[in-house]
Symmetry: C2
Subunit: 188 residues, 2 copies
């Protein structure tokens, strides 16, 4: 009896390899070898590589969304504080060993528009922005939509920059700018 089920081992390995090396750079043979699974087992759980990629993206979505919400809630009950606090998740991510930016942005860069991978990325970004917009509305922003757009721009910029230089300066800078923009949008 395996300590960890085969499906889980495949997904764990895929998560690590896809994120650190990219989708096209990692073949199923490598995932099969590193997860210590038989090829037939792999294709039983994931009928094609694309299915595995989508499962990987779904897991990333779960994790990242959870981290954003946790960071926001840790900032206290005030939605305006939460809008600033969510950037703590960005700082934590940038500091993490092996950080390579946003898995969704990276995936979209390898997928053509209209493909499931690309659309999953669009859906993820829309969901995050929608959540930020709700916070902005709760904070009493004059233009919740605009504020959400701006803050997600900063967030995506920080995610993209973090992939290039591991310095967390971008994250703290994004957070400071968020503080300025939030207070300007709420009081104004």
């Amino acid at each position: 009896m395996p300590q960890v089920p085969a499906r889980q081992r495949i997904l764990d390995t895929a998560f690590r390899l896809f994120y650190s090396r990219g989708l096209r750079a990692v073949g199923v043979d490598l995932i099969i070898a590193e997860s210590g699974v038989a090829k037939a087992t792999f294709y039983k759980h994931f009928p094609s590589k694309e299915v595995l990629v989508l499962a990987y993206l779904d897991r990333v979505d779960d994790i990242w969304t959870g981290q954003l919400r946790a960071a926001a809630e840790a900032a206290g009950p005030d939605p305006a504080d939460q809008l600033v606090g969510l950037f703590d998740a960005l700082g934590t991510a940038c500091r993490r060993e092996g950080y390579r930016g946003c898995a969704f942005i990276n995936a979209a860069a390898e997928a053509e528009p209209g493909t499931p991978v690309h659309e999953r990325t669009v859906a993820h970004k829309l969901a995050v922005r929608s959540w930020v917009r709700d916070l902005a509305a709760g904070a009493g922003a004059a233009d919740p939509d605009g504020l959400a757009r701006t803050l997600t721009l900063l967030l995506d910029g920080g995610l993209a920059s973090g992939a290039l230089e591991a310095s967390p300066d971008a994250a703290t800078c994004a957070q400071e700018s968020a503080r300025v923009l939030v207070s300007a949008a709420v009081t104004g």
Copy 2:
């Protein structure tokens, strides 16, 4: 006598295909076929695919840097106006047919850290930020470094978002935020 030299045809084709489909998705055979060139000719001008990719990135750097400077200068002589005006280049880019985001960010997503392609991307982003910092210093910002960091975050965020939804809302929103942040950083 060919109207356009072979080297130019190869580079033009590579530019179009690499940008629209990604580096790994486009093989040299496709570039050779679409540029109407013999394989030996291709490898005479570009000893390896990576050399061609770097030449592609250099061209992107030339074009994008030129567009940023032109947009900045079109905003007038005041550096503070130029810091806001450079976002016009982002709006123009997002509106362009077949826009797929920042070629450098996309390239970095497909390249491992430490590779020439990745380092070329880092160098490009540093060069842009250095130029923005000079503008910020000229505008009399209290913290030119921080302002440059913030504005390039917005810029990269806009470039990344634009790859997902073709709407130019992100660009105008980024510009409005830039206006707020610049005036806050200059007067403050």
